[in-house]
Symmetry: C2
């Protein structure tokens, strides 16, 4: 099997690459070639045949070149993030909308070719006013350009799947938590940093009230979603190939309580409350929780609770132990 | 005011042009220039300053040239129809999606320019399974490429309106009835022909059961929707700039009963029942009726009943009388 990953240098792209190399197979068949692409050259794992390259997906020639080799499975993760897509109108549309259109267009122009296409959409396709628990038939009414670009991609992929031009699925990933690495400027960054920083003995800032509720899955769960989406039979989905995914429904207070259970009261005491009305206002427009019955029925599984999300981070990022403790 | 109409050579485009010329004003200001564009050169009304030209909207240069003159109001009607968009994948996406994207892109690249954009979407953004009466918060899940392209355009126009790059609205027109002219190959053609042909003493074929229900507005109502959309304050619509419109909810039996009331039993007897399972199956996936509360609150008005729709056709297309009668 030949696999193509766009956005392969990103956090999820790298973890997906590692997971595929560790498995060695997809859809029960050995992976014999991996093509990794991103705006910066991704790192190719040792001993894996294939190619890692830098390319701009908003360039029509880039998609044609990537698709010419007819990868069997395409993970289309490449995107400009929400904040940047809002700040730079044309860059956001160029990569997030045209990048996806060009990739799909290149696929439809190959005769007798119908690859599996796994597209990372986002819960940003939904915007306020929203019910407390979002059902599977919630209309997609985004409040950001990023969410709009993802919702447009979902429609395109459903239509081309219906026509048999590709076999696609769009996954609305929950907010990834605990996101490894350094704190970043994303409005959602605190959801991870109030857990990640205290776990290594550092302070973290909480800009929103403890009652703020949101929808989470670990990086490990996200990779599991992507691989399940690449292997499952998509026909039972029918015309609507976009899916809200399982996650953990947790308030900030739930996050802090879980941190205290897993890492002790000293860790929880590292969180400093510094209310920021701008962040609180952005976050208030976001989805709080989902009832992703369709995805559950299709076999997608997330963590059961926030304690598990924290333990996954300790296992995958901290070599299984909390620094400065025996735990 | 400078007005641009794309798809100006089509049936609605010509009626809209005539209505604008007859009014002479838009938004309370004289219309001093009209630009008409279509794949064939539209006919320019006598004495109206402006230009009529043939252009291919899927050519990036075409949109840039049309927008350079900064029309104040843009009616974007140009589209490949449903059947052709399904038959020719690339042509449909090229005109219906890229044509709309290129027009919007040209607008966003003009500094300090924020035109009113009225986009004709379609009830084809909805596909089965559907409730008998479709509410305003129905998710858009199209079952055709045409419906997909329109739903994607709606999302784009809502987002660019939210950002202040344009002031747009997407109108999901009901099925136009009675469509003037000759019978065509569209699956929906019989809804008009079972009224239009008998009114001029000709036979018509009915391929579906009398119980088949659908959603209608006259060409005159459609032009009224477009002009209202060009003049109203769009701010109260908020983020969601797409609107299902009022119409007449009627079964085929309701159509025939209205025909008999307006034109007598001889006219109704001209309808020959020739069941066609293919047409019946296509039509079964279409919306039946709407509860367009938002549009009604925003002042959009359709005909009250099928009798009025028939009388509008007699007034506008038959010089006010039914041939061979005194009526």
């Amino acid at each position: 099997m030949h696999i193509l990953i766009t956005g392969a240098a990103g956090m999820i792209g790298r973890k997906l690459t590692d997971a595929l190399v560790a498995r060695g197979t997809i859809q029960g068949t050995p992976i014999d070639s991996l093509t990794l692409v991103d705006v910066v050259p991704p790192v190719m794992p040792d001993g894996m045949p294939g190619a890692a390259m830098a390319a701009d997906l908003s360039d029509p020639k880039a998609a044609v070149a990537l698709i010419e080799n007819r990868p069997d499975v395409i993970f289309h993760l490449a995107a400009i993030v929400s904040g940047e897509a809002e700040a730079d109108l044309h860059k956001g549309y160029s990569v997030n909308l045209h990048g996806t259109i060009l990739l799909c267009d290149a696929i439809t122009r190959q005769d007798g070719y119908r690859p599996r296409l796994v597209f990372t959409s986002s819960i940003a396709v939904f915007g306020a006013p929203l019910p407390d628990v979002i059902p599977d038939d919630q209309p997609t009414l985004p409040l950001t350009s990023y969410g709009t670009q993802k919702a447009m991609g979902e429609l395109l992929i459903s239509d081309l799947s219906r026509r048999g031009a590709l076999d696609g699925i769009s996954l609305r990933l929950p907010t990834i938590c605990i996101r490894p690495g350094k704190p970043n400027a994303a409005a959602s960054g605190f959801y991870s940093s109030i857990l990640r920083e205290p776990l290594v003995g550092q302070d973290a800032v909480l800009p929103v009230p403890d009652t703020t509720r949101h929808w989470f899955a670990s990086p490990r769960a996200a990779v599991g979603f992507l691989i399940h989406a690449a292997e499952m039979d998509l026909a039972p989905m029918g015309q609507d190939r976009a899916l809200s995914l399982p996650g953990v429904d947790a308030t900030v207070a739930d996050e802090i309580a879980a941190l205290e259970r897993v890492a002790g009261p000293d860790a929880a005491a590292r969180i400093r409350r510094e209310p920021d009305e701008t962040v609180a206002k952005i976050v208030a427009g976001w989805p709080q929780a989902f009832d992703p019955a369709r995805a559950r029925d299709l076999g997608f599984v997330a963590e059961p609770d926030m304690d598990t999300i924290i333990r996954v981070h300790i296992e995958d990022e901290l070599d299984g132990r909390i620094p400065g403790t025996d735990g």
